[in-house]
């Protein structure tokens, strides 16, 4: 395992591996998103309280979960890059930020659109919504900080520290519905063995969660592949890849 990680830390091996992995993430994403959307939008029954509007859950919850998961990954690989000076960890952290920011934006926007018919308002300064908004600002700060330095090493160092400090926001988002009185509904998965959702509604949600994970995978690989080429542009192998038009 350690040998494999060491091997993957080589930019050339990393580049070749990302190229090989892209279809393994892309096609499962396509299959899962089609199945999840069909099940969620067509087959799943309407909610007895919220009616058809609950179907927004199939994009709102997966994107909200991914907004936190991607941030966690970004902070952890950023930390690995910081401690062990692994350049490829810096690359993964950097390319994850815009993807995570987009998931956060989707969670906020779909939440606002869902809130209008259910709560009668697009936005409230509720603990869950506010902490999720802070997560978006953390992503934007990370991206800005990463672009503020010409030297990628300095940029990675500064932005990784920010990402690690920002980790404190994740438990706040997760437990905000328990710690404070919020308009946002409580967690559906406090007890994973006893979910509060009917299986006909739960299965498409889980499928969509997996679809979004594969989506993150494919987008991170696509962007990481290009980031490696930029960082290693003075290497002979990058010259061979680009001029020989190998992809």
């Amino acid at each position: 395992m350690w040998k494999w990680i060491q091997k993957l830390a080589s930019p050339k091996v990393f580049y070749e591996t990302t190229n090989k992995l892209i279809p393994w993430f892309f096609w499962p994403f396509i299959v899962l998103i089609i199945v999840g959307l069909y099940w969620g939008l067509v087959l799943a029954p309407a909610d007895y309280q919220q009616g058809e509007s609950f179907r927004i859950i199939y994009i709102h919850v997966p994107s909200a979960w991914m907004s936190m998961l991607v941030y966690f990954i970004m902070a952890i690989v950023g930390g690995i890059g910081l401690i062990w000076q692994i350049k490829m960890a810096e690359v993964v952290a950097k390319v994850s930020a815009p993807i995570g920011a987009t998931f956060t934006l989707i969670a906020l926007v779909t939440g606002a659109v869902w809130g209008k018919p259910m709560w009668g308002t697009w936005w409230v300064w509720d603990a869950r919504l506010t902490s999720e908004l802070i997560l978006l600002f953390l992503y934007l700060a990370y991206i800005s900080l990463n672009n503020a330095f010409d030297n990628p090493k300095t940029a990675a160092k500064a932005s990784s520290i920010l990402a690690i400090v920002g980790l404190v926001n994740l438990p706040i988002i997760h437990y905000s519905v328990n710690w404070w009185n919020t308009l946002h509904q409580g967690s559906m998965f406090d007890d994973i063995s006893n979910p509060t959702m009917h299986p006909d509604m739960l299965w498409p949600l889980l499928i969509m969660v997996f679809a979004f994970q594969f989506l993150y995978g494919v987008l991170a690989l696509l962007n990481a592949r290009d980031e490696v080429l930029i960082r290693e542009q003075n290497s002979r192998w990058v010259r061979a890849v680009v001029t020989g038009d190998q992809s």
Binding site: E52, I59, I106, V238
Partner: protein, 57 residues
């Protein structure tokens, strides 16, 4: 007549506006990520090809 009522002929009736708006925004944002990746892919290769061509001259 509100916009939600106007669009209630679509699937999901009175909630059609909210559901389709959510899914459309999500689709556009995700598509944007793929388009960005595709543009970067081409841009970086052209940029590097030009750099190597200049160095060979």
């Amino acid at each position: 007549m509100t916009l939600a009522e106007t669009l209630s002929f679509l699937p999901y009736g009175q909630y059609a506006l909210y559901i389709w708006l959510s899914y459309s925004i999500t689709f556009i944002l995700i598509l944007g990520l793929f388009v960005r990746a595709s543009i970067n892919y081409k841009k970086i290769r052209i940029q590097l090809k030009n750099k190597y061509a200049r160095e060979n001259d």
